[in-house]
Symmetry: C2
Subunit: 374 residues, 2 copies
């Protein structure tokens, strides 16, 4: 059997609890298959790494991540390492993204089960059928441009950040979006988001996206939205953005978080951050490196209580199998099992709910049931 090395970064707060369930799920699907085996190894990352080594991303962790076939992360951060601290857990995350070249952040926002419609903040008629995949450029733009802090010469009373994009950076993320669009039949529509009526970097973005898609992927439909307008559409009629939402780092940070509250709980949603997808047009999609994590934070207020929702992490593990290991069947099996625990008994499911959805099912119980089904 093929053997894959998966680095696990539990992190802080509820991180270890939710990752524990996702690990069990991975072990079960690997045991059930004679095609592949998984070598899972745990490393220190985030606030707990700061406490132990003084750095959020220790050298040994980075090395393990570089050598791994894929990385599964829990969550990092907490009040202990707040915004005023010199060394902060997020710095480790930004450094890891950059070091591994994880330029493609993929965030689906959809309903794992229609039973979850009752939890959406939107009117159910508006939310039902929302099915977006946000593809966010993750290592360019204003996150990684030059910047000047207040207090630094020559003008100590100003601070600035530079939002910069190159044609090559926009091309490669556009190709990832296109490959995701093409994985569906018929291909998904691509909605590119920018602020081209104001920003030069957005004009480059719009021109490059247009040229890349027209030339390399003529079969894909696409359109452009201004970011302010997209933020309205996501609340007022989000299905208009069904398909792939392709955008730059800062806009993607905002819009992916905004759209992720539609399915009712942040605890439910997975994400992938990928490196090395092909620079030439192609329908395959083989990242050379991938970091998978739920979209929620480390929730220090409920850490250690055994009540966190592990579903976002378990679905991240499914994405890991699909994208980094090329194992679609076990990924689907996990997604089906998750749907089953969430569906109501009337539709043949178990109707289990963790505390974030107003229920009483514990983190471990939910893991147990998913494993039973698998």
């Amino acid at each position: 059997p093929r053997s894959f090395r998966v680095v696990v970064l539990p992190g802080d707060g509820i991180g270890p609890e939710i990752v524990a369930q996702a690990k069990r799920v991975l072990e079960v699907v690997a045991a059930a298959s004679s095609d592949f085996e998984l070598k899972l190894e745990t490393h220190n990352f985030g606030g707990c790494a700061i406490d132990e080594t003084g750095e959020p991303l220790p050298e040994s962790t980075l090395k393990a991540c570089q050598e791994a076939d894929a990385i599964l992360m829990g969550a990092i951060g907490g009040p202990k390492w707040g915004v005023h601290a010199k060394v902060r857990p997020e710095q480790g995350l930004l450094a890891l993204r950059k070091a591994l070249g994880l330029y493609a952040n993929i965030r689906p926002a959809n309903f794992a089960s229609d039973a979850l419609l009752e939890y959406t903040p939107l009117k159910p008629s508006i939310a039902q059928g929302v099915d977006m995949i946000v593809v966010r450029e993750l290592i360019g733009g204003i996150y990684f441009g030059t910047r000047k802090e207040q207090g630094v010469e020559p003008d100590v009373d100003t601070a600035w950040d530079n939002m910069i994009y190159s044609v090559a950076e926009v091309q490669r993320i556009t190709r990832v979006a296109a490959q995701i669009a093409l994985a569906a039949d018929p291909p998904l529509e691509i909605h590119s988001v920018d602020k081209a009526n104001v920003l030069a970097s957005s004009r480059l973005w719009r021109k490059t996206v247009t040229e890349t898609l027209e030339k390399e992927y003529p079969q894909i439909k696409f359109d452009h939205h201004f970011v302010d307008s997209a933020a309205m559409v996501i609340v007022a009629s989000p299905k208009r953005l069904n398909g792939v939402v392709l955008t730059e780092n800062l806009f993607g940070d905002i819009l992916s978080d905004q759209s992720s509250v539609i399915p009712g709980s942040l605890g439910l949603l997975p994400s992938a951050s990928l490196a090395g997808a092909p620079s030439k047009p192609s329908a395959d999609f083989k990242p050379t490196s991938g970091l998978y994590e739920p979209i929620h934070g480390s929730a220090p207020d409920i850490a250690g209580k055994g009540i966190a929702n592990p579903i976002g992490t378990i679905l991240s593990a499914a994405m890991l199998l699909r994208y980094s290991l090329g194992l679609d069947a076990p990924a689907r099996a996990i997604e089906t099992a998750v749907r089953k625990v969430l569906d109501t008994p009337e539709t043949g499911g178990l109707g289990l709910r963790t505390a974030d959805l107003g229920g009483k099912t514990s983190t471990v119980e939910l893991g147990d049931k998913i494993i039973d089904i698998l």
Copy 2:
């Protein structure tokens, strides 16, 4: 009686239709009072000005705006002057903001009448009681920093935009937010929004907001939110941001549009863009210049049909009376009249609805009824 000069910029699309109703309303409240008179003069601005003079903001229009006590605008833009045109209507708007120093954009997002709850995309229980005032810095940040277009040397394949803020710019917008907060009793809470975990300009923003409010306005409660988290809260539990949402130009563009769909139709909401509020702490708030406009666009698809909703423009005229002319009583009278036309008959209102709210009331009829009530 005091005499005020008000410049009217109808603009493009539905602009002239909606402005006509707001003008009538202003004329009626002025005629009803012996305290003040209004001199209304109309000028060319936006796409129609491009067609006539080649420029969106002709010299004569700018001069009139500079000399006016206040400016009432309709809407500008349209497919005729699209994103690829050399000269575009929005350039006139950005130039006008800059030339007049309109640094404070004020955008309430609330329900003019509880009867409108049926139109919100959110669950009514989540939307009811939303009452935010977004205070957006309007002439700084990435909108007016230096930028480099693609195709320009030295690196023709990159483009960039600089997001820059000075302490003084952040102080003055913080004071405007504070004065708006203090106009309510008890004072409103201020929610400052930034991305201080990544951006240097946001760290300057957070520090300056904190210091200004702690030192000059100790009676006001405030907190800080990251922009991605604020975008989630506006969908999931917007009342948590009730009060004043204080933010920089780009984040304000996104969040003010996002929050403006909560009340159900963009046609309902007004805005003010102000210059010259005091640089010293004070509870008065006397802008030296003010531009008032509905938040929606020029809606070319329904232009000329007489069905546009004039309420956003009429409420903008009320803000004009209050902020630029210091006339609170007629402003309130207009707001009360608007509430009355929107309230359902069961609660003593007329229950009128224009097409954007699924009704059949025309632009002129709605103006008529508001004037009847006044």
